[in-house]
């Protein structure tokens, strides 16, 4: 974990209010793992006061760019709208990498990835690492959103050689259903060695149910409000599974959890 000034390399709109921001950060990200996140402060405090958490969307290689990371974000509030107005060359204050990422067992050969909306960010980083480091691994992506424009970067996955199943609520792309429908069918027909997901709370709850029903190992990346991102404020509490007392803290115990450890 390092606090540093990171220079914006690019800040491109890729969907309705969605942006990809490339950040040059010279230190600390060589060993960053998929599922880990950063806390970004994009301007002078106190408005907004708190940093904003973002999953790492990908790493930037040293070959064509300075070393760094890429973020995927949606401009929905004061902090992210401020980020959206920024231009290459400007800087943000970056704290990271933070939290515990996905852990894919070495013997896992068949992986299902599920991403809803902006939840695609850590899933893309995971996919890129798996396809790069684990020759022959079989990854399938289930990508869902409200509408076609909410399906961010499916081509990134196709370019990695991953088969992609799209779903939308309005039928403007892929199947008109929730992504959990084809996912459940696939899990039943050909159970994977591991299911990894990130997306809205309801989607994750449903996926945890699918994983339990078919006894498939499942890791979920959770999102909560948080102030510090490093275990000091204890604001990001989520209840532990039935039978366990108390709360996990998403920032240090997660954001990636075994599905069975969370109470929905």
């Amino acid at each position: 974990m390092i606090q540093q000034t990171a220079t914006i390399l690019w800040n491109q709109q890729v969907g309705p209010a969605c942006y990809r921001m490339g950040l040059a950060c010279p230190q600390g990200y060589a060993k960053a793992r998929p599922g880990q996140f950063v806390m970004v402060q994009s301007g002078p405090t106190p408005t907004p006061l708190l940093r904003r958490p973002f999953s790492i969307f990908g790493k930037i290689g040293a070959s064509d760019h300075p070393e760094g990371i890429e973020l995927l974000y949606k401009a929905v509030g004061r902090g992210t709208q401020q980020m959206a107005r920024m231009t290459p060359g400007q800087t943000v204050d970056l704290l990271g990498p933070l939290g515990r990422g996905f852990h894919v067992p070495v013997n896992a050969e068949k992986i299902y990835l599920a991403a809803g909306g902006l939840g695609v960010a850590p899933i893309r980083f995971l996919a890129s690492v798996l396809m790069h480091d684990r020759g022959g691994i079989d990854c399938t992506l289930f990508l869902g959103g409200r509408s076609q424009e909410d399906l961010l970067c499916p081509d990134d996955f196709r370019a990695m050689g991953i088969s992609v199943t799209l779903t939308t609520d309005d039928g403007t792309a892929g199947q008109q259903c929730l992504l959990t429908d084809p996912l459940a069918d696939a899990v039943q027909a050909q159970p994977p060695d591991l299911l990894c997901a990130c997306g809205p709370h309801g989607m994750l709850q449903c996926i945890a149910g699918i994983a339990e029903r078919f006894s498939v190992p499942c890791q979920l990346s959770l999102e909560t409000t948080m102030a510090c991102g490093m275990g000091a404020c204890l604001g990001c509490a989520v209840p532990k599974a039935e039978g366990e007392e108390g709360y996990h803290h998403v920032c240090v115990d997660g954001p990636v959890f075994e599905a069975g450890r969370i109470r929905f």
Binding site: M1, I2, Q3, Q41, T45, P46, T47, P48, L49, L50, R51, D93, L95, T224, T225, M226, A227, C228, M230, G231, A232, C233, L234, G235, C236, A237, V238, P239, E245, G246, Y247
Partner: protein, 318 residues
């Protein structure tokens, strides 16, 4: 000239007046990779109870204009786990470590004080009689002058080192509580704890915090805190520790000029983990520029010069 930043709180000498506020700095280890913990004036660790406490359900925090509301509910590992799991690291630091304690009755406060008195590595305790987010204890003891005095007196009998009492702003007259705590035998008072607040999601018409109400902190509360520090510093003889919305050295200096002997930095640790280091440097730079030899010379140095027609007695406190 290197200005003298050292201050004293009861028998406790701090290398500089910058402390970390309880509940915003974990057990210090969380920040070890980011700052030099040995440069801090003192560390106050997360509020401690005899038994572990799991805290409130989420959402526990929400950002508001220039501030945040929290309702953590004093989640903590409990005294035994603090001693076995957290204290060994804290013992490696040169910085004085203070434990913030709370209980649901006077006996619990007293028992904690007695146990902590035996642990030399705990340089002092800060008694929390002001948490707004727990049903029992906390503010129930801080809102009544007589109870505040009783808790302080009872803890005093068992704890021999520095005893600080943290005051709530959620009272009619904070100077009255401060006087009663002084009477109870405290070495210093710290103020303010968070101000009780609330935020509502108008689309769902639900409170934004599961606990409904929470404690407001951050820059939004600083003017209230400065005012209360100024009032309390004039009302009692004990050193006052200023807390509330300090983000920068300038903020800390306001408190010191208002009468604070030391300050605590809280919410700012979440925003900029390095802020305590910057505040220490900034105070030293200010003293150097102002040619003030010691930060102690700045404490309570508020002046009324230059305001035509202002009643001088008002600032002098006569």
């Amino acid at each position: 000239m290197t200005p003298d930043l050292s201050v004293a709180l009861g028998g406790l000498r701090l290398a500089n007046p910058v402390m970390t506020a309880s509940g915003t700095f974990g057990y210090a280890r969380e920040f070890a990779q980011l700052i030099d913990l040995n440069r801090l004036g003192a560390i106050i660790v997360k509020g401690l109870s005899l038994q572990p406490s799991k805290g409130n359900p989420g959402p526990r925090i929400v950002e508001t204009a220039c501030g945040m509301l929290n309702a953590i509910g004093l989640e903590n590992v409990g005294l035994d786990a603090f001693v076995s799991d957290k204290l060994p690291f804290l013992k490696t630091l040169q910085t004085p470590v203070l434990a913030n304690i709370y209980g649901t009755n006077i006996e619990a406060y007293t028992a904690l004080a007695e146990r902590l008195n035996d642990i030399e590595a705990v340089a002092g305790i800060e008694v929390n009689i002001s948490c707004p987010n727990v049903k029992l204890g906390g503010v129930a003891f801080g809102a009544d002058a007589r109870t505040a005095c009783q808790v302080t007196r009872s803890v005093r009998t068992k704890f021999k080192r520095t005893l600080i009492v943290k005051l709530s702003p959620n009272v009619t007259d904070i100077t009255q509580i401060a006087r009663s705590v002084e009477e109870g035998g405290a070495d210093a008072v710290s103020l303010i704890n968070t101000i009780t607040g609330m935020a509502i999601d108008i689309h769902t018409r639900r409170p934004k915090l599961a606990n409904i109400t929470g404690g407001l902190s951050g820059p939004a509360i600083k003017p209230v805190a400065v005012r209360m520090v100024w009032q309390v510093a004039r009302a009692i003889q004990l050193p006052v520790i200023g807390v509330g919305g300090i983000m920068t050295a300038e903020d800390a200096l306001e408190f010191i000029i208002a009468g604070a002997s030391a300050v605590q930095v809280g919410t700012a640790n979440f925003v900029n983990p390095r802020c305590t280091m910057e505040i220490i440097d900034g105070i030293a730079n200010y003293l150097r520029e102002q040619k003030i030899a010691s930060v102690k010379d700045l404490v309570g140095s508020l002046t009324h010069d230059g305001f035509a027609g202002v009643d001088r007695c008002k600032i002098a406190g006569n």
